[in-house]
Subunit: 995 residues, 2 copies
Amino acid sequence: MYFQEVIMRLNEFWADQGCLLWQPHNVQVGAGTYNPATVLRVLGPEPWNVAYVEPSVRPDDGRYGENPNRWGQYYQYQVILKPDPGNPLEIYLESLRALGIDAARHDVRFVEDNWESPALGAWGLGWEVWLDGQEITQYTYFQQAGGQNLEPVSVEITYGLERIVMVLQGVRGFTDIRWMEGVTYGDLLLRGEIEQCTYNFEVADVGNVRQMYDLCEAEARNALARGLAMPAHDYVLKCSHIFNVLDARGAIGVTERARYFARMRDLARDVASLYAEQRREAGHPLMTAFAPPKPALAALAQPIAEPAGQGPHDLLLEIGCEELPVADLDSAVTQLEAALSGALKEARLEYASLRVMGTPRRLVALASGVAGRQADRTSVVRGPAANIAFDAEGNPTRAAQGFARSRGVEVSQLQRRDIDGKEYVVAVLVEAGRPAAAVLSEALPGVVAALRFTQSMRWNASGVSFSRPIRWYVALLDEAVVPFEYAGVASGRVSRGIRPQGSPAVPIPDAASYERLMAEAGILLDVAAREASVLAQARPLAAEEGGELGHDAALLREVANLVEYPLAIRGSFDPNYLRLPGATLLAVMRKHQRYLPIVRDGELLPYFVAVANGATLDADAVRHGNEEVLRARYADAAYFYHADTQEPLAAFTRRLDTLAFQERLGSMLDKVRRLERLAPEFGRLLGLDEAALAVTRRAAALCKSDLATQLVVELTSLQGIMGRHYAALSGEPEAVAAAIEEHYLPRWVGDRLPETMPGVALGVADRLDTLVGLFAVDVRPSGAADPWGLRRAALGLIQLLLGKRISLSLPEALARAAVCLPVPVDEAVLADVQDYILRRYEGYLLEAGYRYDLVAAVLNAQGRDAYAAQRALEALTPWVARDDWRALLDTYARCVRITRDQPETYPVDPARFVEPATRALYEAYRVARARVDADPTVDGLFSALQEMVPAIRRFFDDVLVMDEDLTLRRNRLGLLQAIGALAHGIVDLSAMEGF
Amino acid sequence: MYFQEVIMRLNEFWADQGCLLWQPHNVQVGAGTYNPATVLRVLGPEPWNVAYVEPSVRPDDGRYGENPNRWGQYYQYQVILKPDPGNPLEIYLESLRALGIDAARHDVRFVEDNWESPALGAWGLGWEVWLDGQEITQYTYFQQAGGQNLEPVSVEITYGLERIVMVLQGVRGFTDIRWMEGVTYGDLLLRGEIEQCTYNFEVADVGNVRQMYDLCEAEARNALARGLAMPAHDYVLKCSHIFNVLDARGAIGVTERARYFARMRDLARDVASLYAEQRREAGHPLMTAFAPPKPALAALAQPIAEPAGQGPHDLLLEIGCEELPVADLDSAVTQLEAALSGALKEARLEYASLRVMGTPRRLVALASGVAGRQADRTSVVRGPAANIAFDAEGNPTRAAQGFARSRGVEVSQLQRRDIDGKEYVVAVLVEAGRPAAAVLSEALPGVVAALRFTQSMRWNASGVSFSRPIRWYVALLDEAVVPFEYAGVASGRVSRGIRPQGSPAVPIPDAASYERLMAEAGILLDVAAREASVLAQARPLAAEEGGELGHDAALLREVANLVEYPLAIRGSFDPNYLRLPGATLLAVMRKHQRYLPIVRDGELLPYFVAVANGATLDADAVRHGNEEVLRARYADAAYFYHADTQEPLAAFTRRLDTLAFQERLGSMLDKVRRLERLAPEFGRLLGLDEAALAVTRRAAALCKSDLATQLVVELTSLQGIMGRHYAALSGEPEAVAAAIEEHYLPRWVGDRLPETMPGVALGVADRLDTLVGLFAVDVRPSGAADPWGLRRAALGLIQLLLGKRISLSLPEALARAAVCLPVPVDEAVLADVQDYILRRYEGYLLEAGYRYDLVAAVLNAQGRDAYAAQRALEALTPWVARDDWRALLDTYARCVRITRDQPETYPVDPARFVEPATRALYEAYRVARARVDADPTVDGLFSALQEMVPAIRRFFDDVLVMDEDLTLRRNRLGLLQAIGALAHGIVDLSAMEGF
């Protein structure tokens, strides 16, 4: 089928489904989503079914036409179904069939892929659809757009037309696609693709393009101010495309990116609100334009039928879903076990055993030995006091009669009981257990509702959130359906088979037959069984090539959770790619494709094992597809790697001048120049020798250079890693290469720390430069958002100082960073930064489980030195656990509390201490002062204080501090102030509980 | 059929025709033409057949959705056929049939509409296709794009989808079009249309948008410099759209517009050359991708068959064309008569009579009594002189024998003849005439080739230019085909019927049957017959409504030339529109629709007569369509008129500040402010009284205000006319209103002149301001191009001065205009302007038939005052026609010539004139001087000179001017110089022939 015929076929298919056929937008967009027919029409309550082609421009994806299936411009086919018709995945699979793609032969998969567009203030959950490993469609349930919750939710289906046609035509790249008889895609588009790449990557004048952005933004605002949604939207799209060009050109720094995103998001939100308001004002004219989807399954009319037998019964609950994300599946299985067992207990339904399993499309709970009825429940209700309930003759009074009547028992059944030492009459009520099916019918909705996910989504009018849409329940008590309804779906006895077989209906006659029927349907319910099956199939495949599977338990679990029945297929790739760094090859294989690598003696072999879904697929077709995908992925990596290794790493440094760090703080190159100065300074503070300082200096000069390499521009997560690799390739010393990678460490809480001190010094310098710099130009975190990574920088700094046991004076360090900056930094800014770091540190310590008051006590006293503060905190912990802690603290506190409100600090004149108790206290103080001076630690302090306790107690027993003689009084107060000051700089005891 | 189905149907239709289905461009464009799939693919030799939808944005066409069929954005369906397949109109008509449009019922017409895009450097000839009066398609044979000649020519078909669907669905406006079941076009697009109108007309920030233009232009240049055609093209398109927004916003002045066009055209040219060069370098890879069109009719293989009879014969030549423009048809008929009669004469074929006729689709020549053979031709060839040819004995010499042999005659056949008084031998040769068919077969191509048109076009590989494509010839001599081939088309005997009947083949057995067969086919060959038929049908239609046809011979001829058989149909329009100015209604009816108006007592009635093509159409369908069209046209006029009359004309003046006149010369408002000062100054020079000066001042203030009204923005040709109308409506005095209109007069050579002097004063001021201003900022005409209208301004000025008999000193007038300008104007500039005006004046006079030397003589002397110069020229003409002119001029010239090289002018001392002849000459000079002073005109001068002739002659006879005595000599020279000076300021006799 020719390319143009595929479009015609899809148009026909979706028109038949009641879709409006729309046209591409006449502004460059990155995806069909940005067409007003999606991003605006999904807002508000009006139904909307639409299908259209969208030429999609993604400057950053351009490869000068050298990659077989990734170009900077390509054609999407976009479908919106609003609301969810109830079976959108099935309709989608039908559309593939209409194009001639046989899901029984090919591995069609729904792999979690959530979508977010910061520039649109939009997000949704869904999948990449894989066809033999190749991503051919993005499938998303839109949850938000323009910052608005979408009600109803829209289903968005985005076909990648070229990739589908490549499969249909059996060609190896976009270029060879036959658009029509005699004309290829390459004939039409290759030259333009190369030119657009050249323009976007090499030619666009950054200054001009930035100005275009500002002008388009101004005009968007201008249009918005006049209530013009469409013109404003066009300008927002122009901003977005211009931003993409700047980005491809390498002109957007990390911090600046966030600012651009915020600007675009603000615009997109304003456009969305304006549009939604317009539709409201217009009275939502399209409310009835589109045929409504079939209503959700008819609400419960069926009576609750108890199983024929008396029990115990088998209970089956199958929750049928659209494909669950891997992590959600594991979590759901655990939660379902807890929720169902809890619910059975709560319902007083005894059961013998409970097993919970799951596949991407079903969560299954099987309980055996479930009681036929609830256990009875006896309760005792207190009535009037016995002396009121019965008269002197022992006859029930009207009070007793009224009580009995209100509880539905005979007066004669009332009993006397002693309660809290007084006699009352009570009614003993016995609630008979109800039949299990009736009880379960009420309980099961709560079981499903109890399942929670990190990210969950709505999909239909019920408004219920779940990991992915729920499409059916099988709920059986032996042979009887347990009727319930939740999330707009009613329970029944019909399950669904595996996708390659078209998800045929599988009626379940009774709970006991379920497992057998599923097995017959080609489904392995238990993940452990699927893992075992993968290994059993894959190991021989590896062995046949003289290798073995690379061990990766997490990956194994992941692939096992991506299928209902694994089919392991070995594929190969061009051994030439083995010349690329192994880490890159593995990362691509694992992250993008979830292939199991095949290794021999630790070295990668040019093979992989892909795991497909369903035993009956056409293995050759699936293998071929997966090989083609990996080829394209590796071509991409090779393309970048080749480009990057044409020059030494140092050559990339100068390009950092086009990479903005932050408007007022200059380019990334400016930052590097600061780090070249700052990092050796910190190195010296950290006691590095001259050789290490030289390493630090060189590493600082190169530490950001890989940001200008294409592999890192494409895969930001490789920053540092590729820097190290390229540095080594360029002949830099190993220590320099290591420091380049390590200065990014730790990247998250719990990540590994640098191993070399130059890496540490550079990491500290980089983070302090970022923190002080951004605060100085008033870029500060607000609320939970941290677009500039300030939180990460602060936490990274803390972890470095703690992990590497570095005592560093924060005020001094901040001041040093401030001096290097191109903007003035006043004291208030430095104080704010310090406070911000301390607040992050505080949070870090609390997360680690320390008592909040202890944290406050050490940070108040020693927060300027994070490592010292942590040591103090560790020392403090055993002290507060001691039995005598309370007394110690209290004694010390008396000294402090009485002096707290004094306006000044009084000198102590030992000559005037007349009372023995005072003199004794003064002596004790002198001893303690000397000890603390000698050992100004928590242990030193408390040891000293402990010895003073008797003297303090005696003093307060014997002496009235607040003598009328002012001289006396002040001398005593002065002594107590001195005792209080013993803790200064060590711990702020006043912050502690019980002070 | 729903809107979306129409697109699907067209896609299917054109895909079946071998077209590639393409997508809309993702940059805002004004038409599908701008899509690279047209504007670039039409370049170069590669075939290209493509079809696609294009959302087309034309800010200026926006009407806030109030017009039924004109919106600022709509959907084109674009088809390119390259090369011409030979029958593209027929394929197009088939596509309409595929949509369900029955050309047998509806009036489908091809009305001349040539296309030019200054912004693309592109043009082509073709038609609007009318469906019952409604323009539904633009049909163009592309001749040039990006400044390049197109070889092959492309056929461009641009459907207006909405208008077609309106007919198919029988709805009255875009808004009501059913896009699909339940959803209208208005549901989808109306709000956006209104918003885009608001943005474009009211909101766009002119400063921002201008900056965008400059940036996009810079980036286009940037991309071009790197050889990147596609990115450059995108930016050119952005420039074009941005320009359109500025234009809609009313921010582009006339002069500035030209500059923008030049900038865009330069870019478009550079992109086109670059693209064409790329294709050449790539070796034109698509040369064989598309199936070639059928080859042109097989070249002549058939033998020439003479008619059976001996003659005389009837000769028929029918040239079958695609629809000829009205003016070309008339001109072609005249030319064909001359060409064919000339050719017959040249061919020595006698004939009795020749009739030439034509319809839009055929040019027909019918000759009767054509001789069966050429007349014989006798020629006499001179040989040697008789005395050489024959010896003394009278026997032929070898010379005679050789001559006879060389001429193929016997010596005995040589004759003697007297030639120029000498006897020669001659050979008398008789060339026998050849049969007529053979001769005609050679002659007819030349007859067709002789036809010339104002604008002609190429269409096929023959490279021949004609008014529109030639598709067939019928060439018959009685029953015999006269075989020939021209322009890739071979002659035959098959004509074609009328379009409504599907242009069926009409075989013509012999020339004599042709007229009868055409009549039977429903075709009136003679325009006079068609005119008579129109009147015969239309007059009763008018009378039925109590009116009569408005007399308009030109229009009648036009409509008669637009059809092969007229069908007059009366339609009506809403009488409410009669409230609009009658001139507007008539202009719309005539210019846009070619309807005959119906009037009663000079007042328009709400009816019209449309003339359709073909007697057999469905009159009701045609009437309905035409009424709908006129409704939309009038809605448009009413829309603007309403908007314009909400405020007095004076209120529009301030908006002129957003209308640039020229960058450095400021806005139109600035120009108006200058005219307010300058026009009364000229008024005073022209001798206006105070009242007239007040009128002049007020008119100056308002003279450009209508440029800011919407009707004039839309229809620039109404400038001045609407200004006058709106001024009168606003209560301005009639004299002011008149001057506003008149200051534009004359608009072309031969146009009427102002009737009022304020109009003249203002017109002079406006033109001088333009001329001096533009020269001062160095905007000067170059070559033939006159984008700034400088030529028109200069010619207008000249015509005003001459026509109103105004003596005005150009240097003074230019200086006055210069003073008002916001830029410095130096003497050199003023001299340049004056010279420019004089050159135009010179051309004007030469065009008027004056002798070039006389023109030079008066302009050299009096060019500073155009009117005076013209009077001098008129006076000069009879003088040079006199018998004694030569003598007079010669005598005068002697005086001048002898003094010509003198370095100085010598004083004359009468006391030193000693010779009588000198003294007499001096006396004669004194008389002459006094006469010329008293009457410094040509007549005065020459009368005086004439009287001096004897004195001059005597002087030269008697006196040696160049006496050795220097004093004497100089005194004599001084006298002659004085005589020479008599002509100064009157006429430069040295410029005249014979001087």
